[in-house]
Symmetry: C2
Subunit: 358 residues, 2 copies
């Protein structure tokens, strides 16, 4: 077991040794450890190796000049200058919050960035300012539009955090697909089969094989099949892609650059790097903050008191599972799986950073 | 067959006779006929009777003072004053557009409103201003959250319209459920059965009965079942509800007032009327408009050229089906079904408006 303080300090040292300024290294470390705390380990410490190899390959700029290249009172377009995703993303969200402070809301489209980790981290930055926070990102193409076999969209997550009075904050953070790639990989290794409605084969036939992506298959949009309205999941994934990349000038759809060093860069580029989109909305730009937060509490209480179904888990409010996990793990400590510990030890040795293996 | 001009003029006369100012009557008529043109007849002329009976019952204010009650440079909260939904909604979207002209983006939360028809109508108002338009609304509770039997959410649609250069505009307009109530009613009348993944019975068991809502059942969120990630559809429906009602001060979730006169008003109210939320974003607030629109064309061409699946319809861009329908029906004319014609004739007679039955 590691404390989050230990892992944060260790991870920050690693990124400093890769050449990042200490303040940037701290952002990346905090983001990756936060993913572990919230039970989203597929975006946590196992990403250190991916980020490291991209840095090694010269595909990430460790000393970027993240800057505004276009703006209005309520908007900005940010060039991430090839930064590590969390560095470009956190700065972008700060700009959105600053704009919201001035004119009620702030909206930032970011290009020239990379994999930014858990979307919820950025949306939750707004909460302490009594603002609603929104964040989204495009991602490597794994998802086929309804009626297609072409992989054109990423799992393209959206996160929205909403302040409350006495209830815990409402934090929705979800991919626009019914399943994540990480889960498919784990099921494949275990030899498990899927239900229908998650993936299709290279001809567009329904499939139950978790490894089907390796054979030209694709993840389906949320909804799962055309007759179960997967076009709505396709719409959502498309909106995230357009907001993240067409607003900012990043690569969209199939042109998003691979976020792992073992895949070569694509031949065709239609923009700069990967894209994100952020929003911050002052709640008192709509009604007095106490009124808003009181009503949010009432909303949450209403939904939490919804009648449950026998034999099923209780009704949850978006953000409940991650928050409960975080409360427990913050006390208990973070347990990493052996392959991740091994990777971290190797990188630590190369970068001359002490690491305690467990 | 009716021309849309005929139906618009007729419908406007009806609402004038109900006491609406001519400009408001025109808005309602245009909205309802636009739904017919776009192939969304469940939100078209069949709603005239619902609106009429609500007006008759004194549950709609035909001479409302729709006004801003709170604002910042980029936001406004609008009180619809009990107006017909389209009247409050169109004015709110105009305010969002005006704010966007001034500071880049404009965001309006509206309370004290009623059923607003097709969401896409308002988002598309932004297109001619080279803005992205967003609209959403909450609605009568028919949808149960994941793991619940309580009907707490409406079908809560979201619409987003995005400007293009030479391609037709991208217009996503979708409910956050896999099926609409109207479709269930039609299948029920025909004696058809559903597939699993659309509705559940009063105990929360999967059901294939389209009439199950009449027996305490509920529509499922997009995704369809807990193991197919219906919690993501639940998140989306919740966000629409919160943006529409908690931002504005309207009734949320199970407290949304019924939009048909044969259902009594609810005993408990937690706000004013039904709520909507609107956004307008100047595309040149992020990058030069021509750049944005050129990239949108490229995005659309990329997706339109996606590889299809044998035996299935071609890949579509959001907005394609409605646009193609509108092009055809604008030429051919609007065909109404007999029960709708009968209802219109009866209302026309009561209100002393000439109507040509076909």
């Amino acid at each position: 077991m590691y404390t989050h303080q230990y892992l944060e300090a260790f991870t920050a040292r690693l990124f400093e040794q890769m050449g990042c300024p200490p303040s940037d290294a701290k952002v990346v470390a905090e983001l990756l450890v936060k993913a572990e705390l919230r039970g989203l380990s597929s975006h946590g410490m196992m990403r250190v190796k991916d980020y490291y190899l991209l840095v090694e390959a010269g595909r990430i700029n460790v000393t970027p000049k993240v800057r505004i290249i276009h703006e209005t009172p309520s908007t900005a377009t940010v060039d991430g200058d090839g930064a590590l995703g969390p560095v470009a993303a956190k700065r972008s969200m700060e700009i959105a919050i600053e704009k919201a402070r001035n004119v009620g809301t702030g909206w930032v489209a970011t290009k020239g960035s990379n994999h930014f980790g858990i979307a919820g981290y950025y949306s939750m930055m707004a909460l302490e300012h009594d603002m609603v926070g929104i964040s989204m990102t495009n991602a490597n193409p794994l998802v086929a539009p309804t009626y297609s076999t072409s992989k054109l969209l990423g799992t393209n997550p959206i996160a929205v955090a909403i302040p409350t009075l006495n209830q815990p904050a409402f934090v929705a953070d979800f991919a626009t697909t019914p399943i994540a790639r990480g889960k498919l990989a784990i099921m494949g290794k275990k030899g498990e089969k899927l239900d229908f409605g998650f993936v299709q084969d290279k001809h567009g036939n329904p499939s139950i094989e978790p490894d089907i992506l390796l054979e030209g298959g694709a993840i389906l949009p949320l909804g799962g099949s055309a007759d179960h309205a997967s076009h709505k999941g396709y719409c959502m994934g498309s909106l995230v892609d357009i907001f993240s990349a067409v607003f900012s000038g990043a690569n969209f759809g199939p042109f998003v650059p691979p976020q792992v060093a073992y895949l070569p860069l694509l031949e065709q580029s239609v923009g700069d790097g990967l894209g994100h989109f952020f929003g911050a909305m002052r709640i008192d730009a709509f009604r007095p903050a106490e009124d808003f937060k009181g009503k949010m509490d009432q909303w949450i209480e209403t939904f939490r008191n919804a009648k449950g179904i026998e034999g099923q888990p209780p009704v949850m409010i978006p953000g409940d599972p991650e928050r409960l996990f975080e409360e427990r793990i913050t006390k208990e400590g973070i347990k990493l799986i052996a392959p991740v510990i091994k990777d971290l030890a190797e990188i630590a040795e190369k970068l001359n950073v002490p690491f305690r293996m467990e």
